[in-house]
Amino acid sequence: MKLEDFRGKQAESAASEQELHEALKREFQVIGQRLRRTDGIAMSTGAAVYTDDIALPGMLHAKILRSPHPHARILSIDVSTALALEGVHAVVTGSDMPHPYGIIPWARDEYPLCFDKVRHVGDGVAAVAAVDENTANEALELIEVEYEVLPYYLDPEKALADKETPIHDPKKPGQNGNVSKNVHLEFGYVDAMMMQADVVVEGEYYFEGTTHTAIEPHCAIGYFAPSGKLTVWSATQVPHYLHRELARVLDLDVATVRVIQPPVGGAFGGKSEPFDLEFCVAKLAMITGRPVKILYTREEVFYAHRGRHPMLMRYTTGASRDGIIKSVDAQTILDGGAYESFGLVTTYYSGQLITAPYKMESYRFDSTRVYTNKPCCGPKRGHGSVQPRFAIEVQLDKVADRLDLDPIELRRRNLLDSDSRTVNEFRVTSNGFEQCLDAVEEASDWAAKYRNLPYGRGVGVAGSCYISGTNYPIYPNAMPQSAVQLQVDRSGRVAVFAGASEIGQGSDSMLAYIVSEELGVPLDYVRILSADTDLTPVDLGAYSSRVTFMCGNACIDAAQKIKQQVQQAVAEEWLCRPKHVKLVGGWAFNALDTENKMPISEAFNQAEAKYGALGATGSYNTPKDIHGSYRGGTIGSSPAYSFTAHVAEVEVDPETGFVEVQKIWIAHDCGRALNPVLVEGQMEGSAYMGFAEAIMEEHIFKESGLHNAPSLLDYKIPTSLDTPEMQSLIIESVDPEGPYGAKEAGEGPLHPSIPAIANAIYDAVGVRIDRLPFSPPRVWRALEQRGEGERAGEIPPWKNERG
């Protein structure tokens, strides 16, 4: 078929005359539409190729020998028998990779394989590459490791009090080696304001650890070509950081390392730093010259962890009699597990991120992250701020209860304005929190239900805010946080090269929507090639809810450069102004005369004839120096904040303490929904995950340091039968700096689930459950305790229904 015939075909499928007229009246053509994803059919037909679906010729399989002890010194390792086993090609131990790594450049405290000490059950000690997994497993049993078992710490308060056998060497002489980080910040005069408060509420909260539980286990493949080039395929959400760390730890020129991130089967923060398997497949590939794969077992995934920190939080909140928050004091101990990970950031986040959406006249936090001999905690969806959000939102419910105020009204009285500063000096621009409150209040029929439902049933409300990425990258540098390269083909196809990591959230699709919007090409003309460090410009990764905001802006930047060239070239042909050349629905057309049009591919050809090959790069960097000047003021500083409100409705069985969450109404200010289907998916998935932490999940350890339940049978996550009904209510505040006004939607909507459910339990049966999860024994005991008080006449029956 000749090019002209293709054009005829393109014209047939392009927008009609009528549609072009309609298009002129709309602000956006693609943005805001309920669209399909670019990868949806590949996923639903089994065609999507995840890391473990890749099999390379001659590929070896490797397994990692893991410590059975929570804390021990490694005295010797003998791998000779393992190496002699037929089918074994290589064995590596800690001394083969002696450089430490860590996601935070000034806190590198992990080794690809331990060589001096093991610090938790499951710490990697040696790795074997063999012809198949069974042989590798057999070889693991032949490795002899001599350990000197050390005293170990599972309880962070004990690790703080006793520093006899520190898990790490003290950072400075005389310090406790079990302290990972301490942050103490005060804004305003907390003690003085607390004295002036009419109501002071104190509470102690405990947030149990939880883990990500992506359905895809971690997997990586390494291949070292004879040319000296290392390629690593990995189910990671941070290919750029992995790229850097692989080169540094393995002593390779970063230019000779390539990281490819295939589609990832869920991550939620659990794949946001390098892991032992990536270094091991790379090193074993370098030794053997063969491709090497490691697929974690589900048990290994539980031990790799990096999930939600358990936090013990002591909060004191002072308010005036009309419900104005005067003072908040937060004392937090974070159980960090064995290593640093993002711990420095987590420690700051545990205090920094609760200062919106409410004004606080004064605020102080003291957060201490403590090492324990358990798998390392890290970032899980809503990094570091889901736990304190639980505490502060229940505190506010208690304040409202003391003042006999509706808790939604209490929140309205403390609203932080748009274009304002938080008490810790974060710049807040767009803010749709009030609309979020309005939306959940109306949709849930709050006024009719709050304190009015019969005993056993109740509703609770909570709010939250979250960052849309961080203004400062993990390693200091002045370069853009995200970049996109576009390449236009003569057929009309546009290829997008982006470092952004598609982990299921839809980032590839988001880029396609933007290109389609800007260049007028149909969605299926856009090809996304993402997260391959040889081919794509840098994006820092899918974490901290940064991708839509940052990579989206970079993509707009690139697309608009091409758009201008196309408009200019076509305008010269039509003798009109470039701004009147519209690129919509497969056409370039004249806005003043819609019959004057050409297929978009012809417009691209005109531009190519005038300018040469059509392509552009675009980038985005965050605003700097908009944060407070105090030490740590950069951490939590974001170009935009999203806002969320939930109402949860529960039914509590007073006989068993079983809490059934019946429905969660989720209102989320995402700035602008680029595709509402995907935004709702993030809102529902977030609320589900918060619900799961509230009711079921416990990432806990036995006295021996063994994981209590390292399987998907025993670590309870909700099935379809457990999950409540959810209703998504999208609020669009249109952010001044977001792509088309968009902000994040992937993490913020998790936060209010847990306190909203806690507050609903109180409304239902009059008991406060300040410790997660809200399991039947815990709720039942609280009900028994309240019942005793009621029977003794100390407190009135709740809702006059019991006693």
Partner: protein, 177 residues
């Protein structure tokens, strides 16, 4: 020791005949292989996923004579004589299956890793019930863990597909076919 092991392995290789997605296939596998291992490692059908390898997550669900079955805990010999259908065999003719189409429309797949297993459970449900309720759907999917969606968009997809199938059937009836 190595010699014993080699002899052991040779004894345990078995020739298998299996009907997968309508194709009769013959291959040799170590006899400890599960159906999932045979599908993924021998036949290259990687659409069925391994999420836990213990029968807990449902990502490996395939149909055995139309019945949802956890292929990661089914010894491959147990599949002999049965029709195995995997996600790769779901679409017929020139387009995706109505369920695949519906998942794409409603956003039923986010990371997509549980999706093949969920679709197989959903196919079995729709073969039993042309107009399932939300409760029916939740029960049918209760052995398939999804960590991304909160299930809502999956319910919407299955309802949409059920409606499309019903309308398709009605249209066929009206055609007299």
């Amino acid at each position: 020791m190595a010699v014993d092991r080699q002899q052991l392995e040779q004894r345990l290789i078995e020739a298998i005949q299996l009907t997968v997605n309508g194709d009769k296939r013959e291959f040799g596998v170590p006899s400890h292989f599960t159906l999932l291992e045979a599908l993924r490692y021998v036949l290259g059908l990687t659409g069925s996923k391994q999420g836990c390898d213990k029968g807990d997550c449902g990502a490996c669900t395939v149909l055995l004579d139309g019945v949802p079955t956890l292929s990661c805990i089914l010894p491959v010999q147990e599949a002999l004589g049965h029709e195995v259908t995997t996600i790769e065999g779901l679409a017929e003719g020139d387009g995706p299956h109505p369920l695949q189409e519906a998942f794409d429309i409603t956003g039923g797949a986010q990371c997509g890793f549980c999706t093949p297993g969920i679709l197989m459970s959903a196919v079995a449900l729709l073969s039993q019930s042309e107009n399932p309720t939300r409760v029916d759907i939740a029960e049918a999917l209760s052995g398939n863990l999804c960590r991304c969606t909160g299930y809502t968009k999956i319910y919407e997809a299955i309802e949409l597909a059920a409606a499309a199938v019903r309308e398709g059937d009605t249209a066929e009836d009206e055609d007299g076919s």
